[in-house]
Amino acid sequence: MFKYILRKLVALLPKLLAMSIILFFALELLPGDALSRTMPPDQYQALSEAQKDAAREALGLNDSPVIRYFRWLNQIFHGDFGYSASTGQNIGTMLAGRLPYTIELSFYGLLLATVIGLVLGFLSAFMKNTVVDYFCTSISVFGISLPEFFFGIVFIILFSVHLKWLPSGGRMPVGEHGFFSRVPYLVLPVMTMAISLTAALVRYTKNSMLDVMGKDYIKTARSKGLRETTVSFKHAFRNSLIPTMTLIVMRLPRLVGGSAVIETVFNYPGIGNMALTALNAGDIPVVMITTMTTGVMVLLSSTLVDIVTAMLDPRIRLG
């Protein structure tokens, strides 16, 4: 297992490297002076041409792109992502206030979608052609038929305005950063985020379960005299999870991308929203870096899901 994880992590490196190269040269190719992205814009404006030249020399902006790339990479590792063109803030600082929360949102969204999707999918297959099955199937078709923001607004009206159970937006109550005080603020965005993935998972898990239920080893399990629940859960369900995991990996970008919409609906400061705000402000460095960050997020989380898959399937782990 350890070996497998290590292999997976090593395989990440070239991808991350490629992404960083794309980002670096995309930023390089942006119109304007590269120097302006290394310092707050007002500081930059205050410099005379001679000072700018000196600063370029001092910062090594006249060096070859390769050297600059590695220097830039080193800065990134130290949390220095350059400066926003619209607010003059350090992008690293801006990310620090938002990225963990988007990760949190996406992670719980993924977790909720996975749990509910798998459970409903399992029930739907286990109780095929019963009311339960039809209920689960209807949920799943409904979930993929409407845009996410729409669910968000409906949730606000339902759970926040009418039932007054949950806050309508924001990330935390004033003065309390603790996890448990943040939970109520997470519920609605997480639910909204999970909907479309849940719907997809219910369908997929059901099909996968039905497929697995026809496999020979299910017959073997039954021939052992095991209970039907044991057969379904221990033998069929775990096997049906493996293709489902692939689906999750493929849907991850969509989940993370959905954060832009969901964070907007719920006024949840996160990076999807940051990208949107920066885009409206024409702040290209921020836009690029946030987009890259989501890419890295997706990459890391797919690796995580791959590892989970490997835990489920010895053939992958040992193969």
Binding site: K215, D216, R222, L226, N239, G319
Partner: protein, 338 residues
């Protein structure tokens, strides 16, 4: 007396499958007995209903299949009679029998083992289900059995996953699963079909040895007459969902009566067969399972078919003690059974 002699009696078993809106009679009135401690071979071409018969006994039919008639009686060692055909599919009564009393080996060892669990845990599951043993004791027992089944390094193999095993080894594991609880009846559904020829012999040998060591009765399903002659005590020849001939191995091989059995014997090389005997092919193809017949199912391909054969169904005819045949040719000669 019967209860002591027989372990399983199948009477006029009918199993139907629903395919779309049509119903297919996959097994259409099958009758045979399995003698205690003996091996019954069910032979026939693929699609003749032998697997369905085996699955019917275990109540392991797929959701669209169901037992439509007849009875399956199983006699436990204590002499009690369990009518398996009446039990609810996956119900607690049939589950108490499965694995413990009757266990089964399937055709394709590549897909019969769950890929995500170690083989040890899959055998352990069976053992734990039916016997109260602690883990260490169970493990020791399993490892002993694995060794007995000719698996090298059973201690290491115990913790390995199915994909780390070859086909033959996997089938040994299946046998281990089937045998770990010392069942009284083992159903082997074409256990060697998917294996290399050399492995086939080893596996058959194992089954035979297990039967000898543990006194298990065996139903062996095969399409290979060569296997039949080697392992069988009794033989049931099936064609289109019916048993066309039933008898002891000597009776069948010395005196095959049904034209299909005869053709079957000619088409397969049998060990020790005369070199000058020619292999022949049964002409025509097996009809579609949903075909509706008005007479003998084999008549179309039968060399000795008479016009009458196409018009009415033949009846089971007992030609000598323990030897039945279902063919119009013998109906007048023997006494009718139906």
């Amino acid at each position: 007396m019967q209860e002591k002699e027989y372990i399983l009696r199948v009477q006029d078993l009918k199993t139907d499958f629903k395919v779309g809106r049509k119903t297919v009679h996959a097994v259409n009135g099958v009758t045979f007995d399995v003698r205690r401690g003996k091996t019954l071979c069910i032979v026939g071409e693929s699609g003749c209903g032998k697997s369905v018969t085996a699955h019917s006994i275990m109540q392991l039919l797929p959701p669209n299949g169901m037992i439509a008639g007849g009875s399956i009686d199983y006699y436990t060692p204590s002499g009690a009679c369990e009518t398996l055909s009446d039990y609810k599919r996956n119900g607690s009564r049939i589950r108490a029998i499965r694995g413990k009393e009757i266990s089964m080996i399937f055709q394709d060892p590549m897909s019969t083992l769950n890929p995500v669990y170690t083989v040890g845990s899959q055998i352990m599951e069976m053992l734990k289900k039916h016997e109260k043993v602690d883990r260490a004791e169970g493990k020791a027992r399993i490892i002993r059995l694995l060794g007995e089944l000719g698996i090298p390094n059973p201690e290491i193999r115990y913790d390995q996953y199915p994909h780390e095993f070859s086909g033959g080894m996997k089938q040994r594991i299946m046998i281990a699963i089937a045998m770990i609880c010392n069942p009284t009846l083992l159903i082997a559904d074409e256990p060697t079909t998917a294996l290399d020829v050399t492995i086939q012999a080893q596996i058959l040998d194992l089954i035979r040895r297990m039967q000898k060591n543990y006194g298990t009765s065996v139903i062996l399903i095969t399409h290979n007459m060569g296997i039949v002659v080697e392992v069988a005590d009794d033989v049931a020849v099936m064609y289109m969902g019916r048993v066309v001939e039933f008898g002891s191995v000597e009776q069948i091989f010395a005196n095959p009566m049904h034209p299909y059995t005869k053709a079957l014997m000619k088409s397969v090389p049998v060990l020790g067969m005369n070199k000058d005997r020619e292999l022949t092919v049964i002409e025509g193809t097996t009809p579609d399972a949903s075909t509706v017949f008005t007479g003998c199912e084999f008549a179309e391909r039968c060399e000795s078919a008479r016009p009458e054969c196409f018009q009415r169904f033949p009846k089971d005819t007992v030609v000598e003690a323990g030897h039945r045949v279902r063919c119009l040719l013998y109906e007048e000669g023997g006494k009718s059974n139906g």
